[in-house]
Symmetry: C2
Subunit: 469 residues, 2 copies
């Protein structure tokens, strides 16, 4: 369990004191050591205890990151990269203290290559800022984890979201990146070519590495053409199983669905109250199709037929932007809506991902588990990928409730792993899920540790995260 | 240049003698040391000198691979994985001798999970055998590098081919794999979940690693539903540049083209002779669309309009399977057709990949280079990815011709890298392109070497490949 296992690591006080002096002199006002700034750069959106960094550097260039990493390597001080602080698993906590590298001022879109459908951004650019920048180009960046996260943070956690079923995750959408590695050297992991068979895939090694191998400073991303037309709607189903079967059939038929999101009955109830949606309190699929006018109509019709085969429907769909926007606003507000089910509570948001054939079973067992444990915990999911979230509503100040929620998270992770799935589809490991790594990866953990030790022998890059000690 | 730089590495004669004795006793008839078998497991389809392994083990299980790796590790003998021998860059040569692990008897499809659109195969299953196995399921495995390669080999070289523009490469289509690592342990790199944020991406680290980190024994692959309808055809263009611009526009418009292949004028001439195709001897695009009946008609019409905007056409397309089959047969015979341009010659097949915006320029400069060098070298390309092949026709017994061809390959690789591309889009590094690694990856090569040394400290896994010594 995460809370009780949270590592308190040894601090190198002398080294920390030395680099604080160096960075104050070097960065002036851009290096902060005040209590509240440091608190903001700790646990962020988790219930995990806050483990403060000793200083926060607001960097502007890759070279500044390099200076910091080099000084920290020399004095053996931890370096923790920070984007917008929307991480859910304690990725930015500083269990051994150290320097938080805040990339929010690295907010420049460096280039947009419209012909190549790619762009290069600094790590602190958020996904919304990028899409605003792109708005006159006819292109967009599809990955949408809900939060307005930084692209550096999204790269570091291998983020995805509602439309990964169509466009992939950060794994598929990062063409190349620039990082300052633990040895203080700057590496560009790949060219802008769409594909390559040249050497180890350093890009994919860093995507999802959670700052434990290097600090990502620039990212080259794939872009997509804005679809000519979009259709979408909501379809109720008699059961989660029926909804999952409709999803499986939709994907098997090759219908290129852009989003297909499950909302369970309890979450529909919450959204009905919070977002004023007029749908039955039964499991629903929120779906969206991207393509030509004729294509999206055909896809929506085909989906409606599949849904009715599994007892779902009516499937009311539209191509009108305002109506779709209302639906997706409601879907994106799921986190806040869920909290209306238990006023005063906070949601512990966890995720798991299984092969889609096991999804109905996994969600079914999870709903039974929730009932048996007496939790209030609605479920939403990117079901096209087999990925779902449980929002456990708990009193964040009650250790008993936290322990109950953690026990549930453990059972969920073990259930997903036992079904040939993963303990996290998109949130990452951070501190919160370190305990599941051995069970999920077996000998893979030893290989990961070997790689980590080889590339970061001093263990200065985000220590205490991802890999069990 | 590849030939003159070809490494002859020190042989561990004592260790080799020891493992030969062990494996003869252990595997009997399934361990061969005859000259001709060993020759067949050397340079294969390259002009590079043949560097024979000392023995060839025809393995049947992962555990047998493990036995071999453990014995070879104990006695410090190289291990070289072998699939079907269709590698183009000397990947299976044995510059320090050692044991070739022939996976051709690991030919079982272990499972097909139709609901999950995935399957698990042993490494020796070929892509054609897999598709034959799948034929009644409504599913297919799309990656098609031309040759009927083994899926283990395709994974090891990060292979792709004609329809990567729609379905991705092995990078995107391997969900997980099992490998025997240099430490003799068996690792499964991931679960069958479609996505995961759990730990380093060991799958992608091994995809494209060319047997230098471990021997891949099983692969879990994504499958696709067989499209309801397919349309396709050939469209001539006045120039390579016009054809490339049509490709860029097609992709920018979001038309989900499944294949879009450039054949230059010289190659069209060869195909006209060899495959009896009735098209003008000008640059042509071979295109194919997958989708619904209405969808593929709409896509073909849209493409035709784009082509005519750039002076191309007429674009004659069809949904009739026999007519399409003739076109793609011709495209797949390009390698053999090219040789009809210079009877008695052999084709040195090389590839490069650049951002698509630079493709017309890169091919244009390459055509000029070919003319200036006095080479006969037609060009075909997976232009939707910016990837193209040059087939240099040469006398494989004439060192002057080989040197001229190698000088050309060097200029091509440097040209592609200078255009923010890669020296190989899909063939891999092997021995043939080691010389370009530093130029392409800079500090990345040092990181790759660190990873290699950490995971294979004895350097027994396919030594002398990919990384410059």
């Amino acid at each position: 369990m995460a809370l009780k296992d949270l590592k308190v690591m040894q601090r190198n006080e002398a080294g920390i004191a030395t680099v604080l002096g160096i960075f104050k002199q070097r960065f002036g006002e851009r290096f902060q050591t005040g209590q509240s700034i440091r608190e903001q750069h700790g646990h962020t959106t988790t219930y995990l205890p806050n483990q403060l960094p000793d200083g926060v550097a607001f960097v502007e260039t890759t070279e500044e990151v390099q200076e910091i990493v080099r000084a920290c390597a020399e004095h053996r001080v931890p370096v923790i990269a920070f984007g917008t602080g929307t991480s859910l698993e304690g990725h930015v906590n500083a269990p051994a203290g150290g320097i938080s590298i805040d990339t929010s001022r690295m907010d420049k879109v460096l280039s947009v290559n419209a012909e190549d459908l790619d762009c290069t951004v600094q790590a602190g650019v958020t996904r919304e800022a990028l899409n605003t920048h792109l708005r006159d180009t006819g292109l967009f960046f599809p990955i949408d984890p809900g939060a307005n996260a930084s692209l550096g943070g999204m790269t570091s956690t291998r983020a995805s979201g509602t439309n990964a079923v169509r466009y992939g995750t950060m794994r598929e959408n990062v063409l190349s990146l620039k990082a300052v590695m633990a040895d203080g050297e700057i590496v560009t992991t790949a060219s802008r070519a769409r594909k390559s068979s040249s050497g180890y895939d350093l890009t994919r090694l860093l995507v999802g590495s959670e700052g434990t191998l290097g600090v990502i400073t620039e990212i080259t991303l794939r872009l997509q053409g804005i679809p000519q037309a979009i259709s979408g709607g909501v379809c109720p189903f008699p059961s989660v199983e029926a909804a999952c079967n409709a999803v499986i059939m939709t994907i098997q038929m090759g219908i290129p669905v852009a989003r297909i999101e499950l909302v369970n009955a309890l979450q529909m109830k919450a959204m009905k109250i919070y977002s004023n949606l007029d749908y039955p309190e039964s499991p629903c699929l929120f779906v969206e199709f991207h393509g030509s006018e004729a294509g999206v109509a055909e896809q929506a019709e085909s989906f409606g037929e599949i849904a009715s085969e599994f007892g779902g429907g009516p499937f009311l769909w539209t191509t009108v932007a305002e109506e779709r926007a209302k639906l997706w606003k409601a879907r994106h507000e799921a986190y806040w809506a869920s909290q209306s089910l238990r006023p005063g509570a906070r949601a512990l948001s966890t995720d798991a991902c299984v092969p889609i054939s096991r999804l109905a079973e996994c969600i079914g067992e999870t709903e039974a588990d929730i009932a048996q444990a007496g939790l209030v915990a609605p479920i939403v999911g990117h079901v096209g990928d087999g990925n779902f979230h449980v929002l456990v509503l708990m009193d964040p100040n009650d250790p008993t409730e936290i322990a109950k929620a953690e026990a549930f998270v453990t059972r969920l992770a073990e259930r997903a792993i036992a079904m040939d799935g993963t303990c996290t589809g998109e949130h990452g490991i951070g501190q919160g899920k370190v305990a599941f790594m051995e069970r999920e990866h077996g000998h893979g953990v030893a290989l990961m540790r070997t790689i980590k030790q080889a590339l970061d022998p001093l263990d200065i890059m985000n220590p205490g995260k991802m890999l069990p000690l």
